[in-house]
Structure formats: C-alpha cells, structure tokens
C-alpha cells in the first residue's frame, strides 16, 4: 500500500487550522468537480481531495493520521503502518459517498464499521453507481463488455476487505453518451432483494467521430478538384463505407448531412460531415505546371472583398 500525503493533496501545511482545511477543500472541490472540470484527471483529483478531507476534517482521524508521521523515505518499499498506530483514537467510520472505494491506504486505515453503503444491513440492498467507457462502434452495434468492480466488503467481525468482481455487461445498441445502463440485482446485497447497478456510459475519444447525442460529426477531407467539380467520394461510417455526393463548387466548412447514418434508434441519428479542402503538396514538375496553368488561366482573387487594392 502506498502512503497518502493528505496535506499535500489539499495544498495546506501540516499545522493548518480546521478553517484553512475546510477552505482549501471547498476550493479544490469546485475546481476538480467532475461535472464542472473538463480535465481528464478531474475524477481522480476529486476523489483524492475528498479522501484527504474525509480524514483531515475529523479531529480524531486527523490526530491518528498525524501520528503516522511523514512518508517513509524512497526505496523503503511498500508502506506499513506502525503497530497500534490508532490506539487511543475513537474515530468512527468514513468512506466515499459513492460506492467507489478510496485508496488502499484509506480503506485499510480508516474504513470502520459501516459496510460499503455506509449504513446498517438494509432490507433492500442499495443501488450502486459506476461508469463504463465504450467505443462509438460498441454503441453502434451493441457489445458485450466485462467490467471489473472493486468494492469494500465488510466481514461479520467488522473488518473490511476489498473484493474484486467481474460482471458481464451487455451494451445495448444505440446507447448514447451520458445514458445509464441498469444491471438488475448487481448492486449491494441486502436481506431481501439486492440493489441494482447503474452504469453511466462514456464514449472513449474517437479519432474520427465527435458524438452529440445520436448524431456523429466528422471532418471529411476532399481535394480542390473534388470540391470544384463535385462527384462521389467514399466516406467511412460506423456501419461501413458509404458514397457521399459532393455538390459542385463545394466550400471548405460546408456541412453535409447523412440522414439516419448516426447511432441507431427510433429515430436514428445523423452523420454530419464538414468538408475540408486539402491542397496536395507540389513535389513534381508536372504538378507545378498544373498549378502555374491554373494561376494563369483562372482569374480568381479570394481577397477581393478585403479591399485595399
């Protein structure tokens, strides 16, 4: 297990007052809240500051943590708390409010008493929430994914261990970013029926498509002559290649809509291709002659409207 420097996580000194800690936490929580922060590491950062605050806001827990001292010097291997490090302190259970576990360091040292959902053994098991990352192709065709879940489990004697669990998830066809998949009966166990597991769907960044609901956006590069003359070009879609008709005198930035070629559903989404005219690199004499000929034969001044001539 790795030692966690909770003071560093909140950016406060070890002798910070309770007020300073609260202020630092609130500021960091706003900055890294996953619903507000666009940063890719926001989820991890937010969890880190919450974990740190969970310990430092509680005087007993903070005192026990301070007793542990500083991080051991590098190269000493894995962190082991000294024996009886917590004797004389009477902090109660703590843990994340969502079902995801904090770090091993927290779970081993500070998780007490309460089960993973923070309460007594309920008659109806609590629902669990998690996230699953899928590709646009998975959403287009539907897919089977195996999800690894790590959750704290309380033994009858009150100790908490981490349990890994693998769940097969069927990704329904046509699901969109932000929607939720419900897995009935896969939540926390209870005396009666277990709770459900809800998975929020996130799309992995795609090299070609940008999703917006069921619609997909992409940039479609075309040559200057395809733009000028129009005609058929072959374009990729998640369902396979399709022919797209480019109109004559197409402009760069012009948007073409392919109805119903986006993510499936009723109605299915569309694909929007933004045309992007790409000039070939002139490397041969023949190519240069072509362009020189165009320069001579085509009276075209794209800067005419700027004036000043």
């Amino acid at each position: 297990m790795e030692f966690k420097d909770y003071y560093k996580a909140l950016g406060v000194s070890r002798d910070a007052s309770a007020d300073e800690i609260k202020k630092a936490f609130r500021k960091a929580a706003r900055k890294y809240h996953p619903d507000v922060s666009p940063g890719a590491d926001a989820v991890a950062k937010f969890k880190e500051v919450n974990e740190a605050y969970e310990v430092l806001k509680d005087p007993e827990r903070r005192a026990a943590y301070d007793q542990l001292g500083q991080e051991p010097p590098q190269g000493q291997g894995r962190y082991q708390p000294p024996p009886n490090w917590d004797s004389g302190f009477s902090f109660s259970e703590g843990g994340p409010r969502d079902d995801e576990a904090f770090s091993d360091f927290f779970e081993t040292l500070f998780r007490r008493g309460a089960g993973p959902t923070g309460g007594a053994y309920a008659s109806q098991g609590a629902d669990s929430h998690g996230r699953i990352e899928i590709t646009i192709e998975d959403a287009y065709r539907g897919a089977e994914r195996t999800l690894s879940l790590r959750s704290p489990v309380m033994a009858p004697n009150g100790t908490v261990t981490m349990q890994d669990r693998k769940i097969a998830v069927r990704v329904p066809k046509g699901i969109t970013q932000g929607q939720h998949i419900r897995l009935a009966g896969q939540g926390a166990p209870g005396a009666g029926a277990p709770g459900d597991l809800f998975l929020e769907v996130a799309f992995a960044p795609h090299p070609v498509y940008r999703p917006d609901g069921k619609d997909l956006y992409l940039d479609l590069p075309i040559t200057p002559w395809e733009a000028a003359l129009g005609g058929q070009v072959v374009m990729p879609t998640p369902g396979g290649k399709v022919d797209l008709r480019i109109p004559k005198n197409a402009r760069s930035g012009q948007k073409m809509r392919l109805k119903g070629k986006g993510l499936p559903g009723a109605p299915a989404g569309d694909i929007y291709a933004t045309l992007k005219i790409v000039n070939p690199k002139v490397t041969t004499d023949e190519a240069r002659e072509f362009f020189e000929k165009m320069a001579k034969k085509m009276p075209f001044d794209p800067r005419a409207h700027l004036g000043g001539t």
Binding site: A29, P34, F46, R97, D127, R165, I167, G178, R182, T274
Partner: protein
C-alpha cells in the same frame, strides 16, 4: 472472483419515485428542480411525471453538485445552463480549430 451475467437495459422514462431512487434524492428536491426548469418531465401532475433522456442525466448532475458543493436548486440551474453554454462553445471551438 466470480463472474456474473445479468439483464441489462437502458435507463429511460423514470417516474418521480424511480428518479428519486436513481439519484438518491428526495421528492422535494426533484420538484424544486422541475420548478426551476432544470428538469422537464412529460405529464401534467407529479403523479404521472415521466423523466426521459437528458432530464435523467441532468438530475444526477444536479444531485452531485448539490451534495458535493452545497449548491441550492437555483444555483444548480445556473451552473447547468452555463455548463451547457460552455460545452457548446467548446464544440464550436473544436470545429474551428479542426478546419
């Protein structure tokens, strides 16, 4: 490590009761969000409300912002509107940078 298979379906069209369970909130909070226009359920009375698509996602976000940052319903409404605006601008910016 045990491997489990189970039924999975898309969460859509939730009643007021189911939405409360889904985002671990009480009915008063959800009704407040509807009154602030954060959520737009189908149906005329709270008894036959149906929450679909974006409303479900927004309800969950609203609950998290309230719980984690202590923002009230009016504040959540403002934050979500501004986030939508920011996302739209980021999308347009990404398009301009790509061309």
């Amino acid at each position: 490590m045990k491997k489990a298979t189970s039924r999975s379906d898309i969460v859509d069209a939730l009643s007021l009761h189911d939405l409360c369970r889904f985002c671990q909130a009480d009915e008063t909070w959800v009704i407040e969000l509807v009154e602030h226009g954060v959520l737009e359920p189908m149906g005329s009375t709270s008894g036959n409300w149906r929450f679909v698509g974006t409303s479900i996602v927004r309800a969950k976000k609203a609950r998290r912002l309230n719980r984690d940052l202590g923002i009230n319903a009016a504040g959540v409404a403002l934050v979500l509107d501004l986030l939508d605006e920011r996302d739209e601008m980021m999308r347009r910016l990404a398009q301009h940078e790509a061309v």
